[in-house]
Amino acid sequence: MESESPIETKKGKSKTPKKAKESILKQKSPAEFFAENKNIAGFDNPGKCLYTTVREFVENALDSAESISELPVIEITIEEIIKSKFNSMIGLVDRERIDEALYDDYETAKAREGTSDFAYVLEFYVLSSLDVLKCHLTLSCSNLFSLVQKRLAKEARAQEIQAKNASLGKKVKEHTVSKGAKGRGEASFYRVTCKDNGRGMPHDDIPNMFGRVLSGTKYGLKQTRGKFGLGAKMALIWSKMSTGLPIDISSSMRGQNYISFCRLDIDIHRNIPHIHLHEKRDNKDKWHGAEIQVVIEGNWTTYRSKILHYMRQMAVITPYAQFLFKFVSDTPDKNITIKFARRTDAVPPVPVETKHHPSSVDILLIKRLIAETSKPNLLQFLQHEFVNIGKPLAERLIGEMGPEFSPKMAVKSLTDQQIVRIHQLFRQAKFDDPSGDCLSPAGEYNLRLGIIKELHPDMVATYSGSAQVFEGHPFIVEAGVSVGGKDGLNIFRFANRIPLLFEQGGDVVTRTALKRISWNNYKINQTQDKIGVFVSIVSTKIPFKGTGKEYIGDDISEIASAVKSAIQQCCIQLKSKIVKKMQAREQQERKRNLSKYIPDATNAVYDVLKEMARSHVSKKKRYEEGDADILRKVSDHSITNETLKEKLTEHVEKVDYQMALEYATQTGVREEPSEDIYLQSLDGKGNLFDFHSPIFVFRLFL
């Protein structure tokens, strides 16, 4: 907004006298601003738009269900709509191309020549030797590829025009991405539907909840997935920009006997909803929740894996939710249906809204709090609008502020200077750290389930740190580390219980795991072992880096050290497990490892004995009686190498038995700590068939 207006005024200055400036000064609505800068909200390009739309819907759905302590059941469907179908949908007649040269993907005569060249070359070289064939093929192929690339690049550029605010870096990404989209000539449209069993929305609020950017229910200070009430609205803006189609919302609240249905789009210039249809319908099934449907331009091919990863990791961090993900298109073999079943019914507590911590507020915020407070005087204001300020501390603070402050003064009468003074004192004074009570971490149990599901590891350890503070905002870091399972070092990052998939390289978790953990200390080999690292950070304010909720920077030492220590704690747990495992392996392999050296050892001893026996026989040397006896036996072959081997083997067996016994008595019968497992209830009556036996019944569901 701000960046726009000076340019406008400049223009005005040059053309018109100063007076006219006022009339030219333009106001930009928030909706307009976000439409022009949609990359801020993660709508960089069609592919990412599709991804972000899915993501925003899913997160809203989860928040909604959790807010009424309902186990979330979420269905998300992406339906591919090809262009002709889309056109008929909006009542546009498909037109054949008449002037081919008009189009961007038109291949010039020269380019076509190139393609035929390739055919020719190919034909020719089938007859010639293989080596030459290879070399020329690569040459002509690269020609062909450059042609294809050119076409794809053009395509990408076309997409870029739509995503006009995308930065240069993103453009490069886009190009590489479009290479993968071979043979898919034109933009695709998708109908994204998300249905949940959450709170639903009051009938009359629906238009404002969707049709007004920066209006939301999540503005309080608490741990939430979303923050600004942007997500769903951005999807709506994007649909308006790319397809022009409105959004459909159905919603019903608990105990409501009707379903609100609303079809609306957004008046971007005025940032107000534009309602097409708003009616109440029958609610026969007593359904509550919301169903949102939007048609947008997107790119499934390039963001398919990201979207699936997102769903998968979301299922990992919210094992108490049930997700059904569907992708539907005209080509049935591309269709996908994945059900992420619920694995627990333990829902983390709903995060509670908390008051601001004095060290985290700024002047504007203090002013807002003053405007909103119901407390009449300064003392009560300090005491009730902030955490960690009790009455004695409030009095001391007021005393410190200066002579013009008094506990009884009306808080609304504070001047700007006085507010600045309060702010300064808040910055300098010492307060207790905010407690983590208002946070709702994912929980070690959930983390553990997630890791097991994602990586199928041999060993898992989890750790939940205590609450710590960054700029007055409490945060909790939880970590899980696993060994075994999937190859390599796999890192999974979560912030406020949403998965982070982008910008892995710069993230605090990745950097910590790669650079600051000495895995060797924990008997883990970073290059050979399969390591999984899960880190979940929750906070009332996650310090995301850059635009969009993509990664947490590595520059915040409080978070970096908390992440490090959480991972280390897991590693310490793992280490003892690993050591025990190594011991157990040693137990199993001891006999084999000892036995394999028997021949070498006895050979060496016997070789010397043999030589000695020889010189003994020839009377070169004299030996004492016991020794001479052995040598005599060696000479007459009553002691051979075999004798030594047998004796040594006997001894090894005896030792092995003793040590195994010792090991068993020392360690006792050790069991892994038992864990509750969640059994899914089977719905539907189904046909049962019982097999009876004297001790159990085996029930088969048909």
Binding site: R590, L594, A601, H651
Partner: protein, 419 residues
């Protein structure tokens, strides 16, 4: 010869700008005079018989080995093997009692100025997973050495390793066990008839017999004579040298040998090309004790240079059991010392910053007794750690390749600048 040299020096006066301190040099004759008086006074002072461990009544018992004849090595092995046979036959498995060569079992004896081994031993049972390998290797080495005794031949450590590559896996393991074995039998490693490949070289004013052949080290060409791996072969040492120059590195050695430095100032030049092997140490000791010459050391100005110096002087921890035969006491640190860097204005670009590891090594050295006993060394080492700079001998080449032999060393000798 001297005439020629003088002429050349006169010609090269203009070089003095590029070769600083050259003008400080006195004539060779004067320097020789200084050296001669030093050497005579040195040899007269060092006539007293060196102390042995037995002379000292130390509170802790220490282990020392001695040269044993082949037959006594053989019978030592045989009685050990008979013990093993008894143990095995009685069904108890078997084990070795090996003197520990860990650093906790080492003791620096200031009176002797060398490291000795204490009497702690570890038991190496066959039937334990952590020692089964070493025990097997030990019995294998014993049997191999027994064969050497019977046949009266010498083999190299490499030969020994190749007799059973599968068991030994790499030479480090068989070498370590070999030291254990000599420690266990109480004899020097040479007594086991196992030698290391030739590493050290010697050139200069030395004549000795190698297996009966007379060797004149002034006539060995530029590379000099390889130091015989078997010290028993060496005898009849004669020399008119005034000192022995111990050089850490091959490069500096080649420079000095090619410039025939030993003809300008009669000396014997020795190098082991880095960490010294047993043969070079034995050879140096023999030269020093038989010829009664002072030993001056030219090493890099870094912690490793000093470490190498200490190995020659006080022995290595790995072979402390034989330090009596391996060490050469009273080696003077001639250069390049940390203080020389500024004294000889070695340009910044030739000095290297010390790594963290270097500094740690330097600080560790400061804790070592053999450094502490010499206050001059402590001072130099402190300076090195403080300035965090190191320099190799080659840093002197920044003043010309021959600066080392033509200016630096003569000047050092003239000033008797050693610690």
């Amino acid at each position: 010869m001297a005439d020629k040299k003088k002429r050349r020096r006169a010609d090269s006066d203009s070089e003095s700008a590029s070769q600083p301190f050259k003008n400080l040099l006195k004539s060779d004759d004067q320097i020789l005079q200084i050296l001669k008086s030093f050497t005579t006074c040195f040899s007269s002072s060092s006539t007293s018989k060196p102390l042995t461990l037995a002379d000292l009544a130390l509170s802790t018992t220490c282990r020392e080995v001695s040269d044993l004849s082949l037959s006594s090595v053989q019978s030592a092995i045989e009685s050990l093997v008979l013990q093993l046979a008894h143990q095995i036959l009685s069904g108890q498995g078997f084990s070795f009692t090996v003197p520990s060569r860990s650093s906790s079992n080492q003791l620096y004896v200031p009176e002797l100025d060398r490291i000795v081994l204490r009497d702690k031993s570890t038991v190496r049972p066959f039937s334990h997973i952590s020692s089964v390998r070493k025990t097997t290797i030990t019995s294998k080495i014993l049997s191999l050495v027994h064969q050497l005794c019977l046949k009266n031949i010498h083999v190299t450590k490499r030969d020994l390793f190749y007799t059973d590559v599968k068991l030994f896996q790499d030479q480090i393991q068989s070498d370590a066990v070999l030291d254990d074995v000599s420690c266990m039998l109480g004899c020097t490693r040479s007594s086991l008839n196992v030698i290391a490949a030739e590493k050290g070289v010697v050139v200069g004013r030395l004549i000795f017999s190698d297996n009966g052949d007379m060797i004149d080290c002034t006539k060995m060409g530029m590379g000099g004579k390889a130091i015989p791996p078997n010290i028993d072969r060496v005898g009849d040492m004669q020399s008119d040298a005034l000192f022995i120059l111990l050089v850490e590195k091959d490069a500096a050695y080649i420079r000095l040998a090619e410039d025939r430095f030993y003809n300008r100032f009669p000396c014997i030049i020795v190098t082991a090309k880095g960490q010294p092997d047993v043969a070079t140490r034995l050879f140096l000791r023999k030269m020093k004790t038989e010829l009664k010459l002072p030993v001056l050391a030219l090493v890099d100005s870094d912690p490793y240079g000093l470490k190498i110096l200490s190995v020659y002087g006080c022995g290595s921890k790995n072979m402390s059991y034989d330090s009596a035969n391996l060490t050469t006491p009273d080696i003077k640190w001639l250069g390049i010392r940390p203080s020389d860097l500024d004294k000889y204005k070695i340009p910044e670009q030739c000095r290297l910053p010390m790594t963290e590891q270097d500094i740690k090594t330097g600080k560790d050295l400061l804790e070592e007794d053999f450094v502490k006993k010499n206050p001059g060394w402590v001072e130099e080492l402190n300076l090195m750690v403080k300035t965090r700079q190191k320099a190799e001998i080659q840093a002197l080449s920044s003043f010309g390749f021959q600066y080392l032999s033509e200016v630096y060393l003569p000047l050092k000798l003239q000033q008797q600048d050693w610690l």
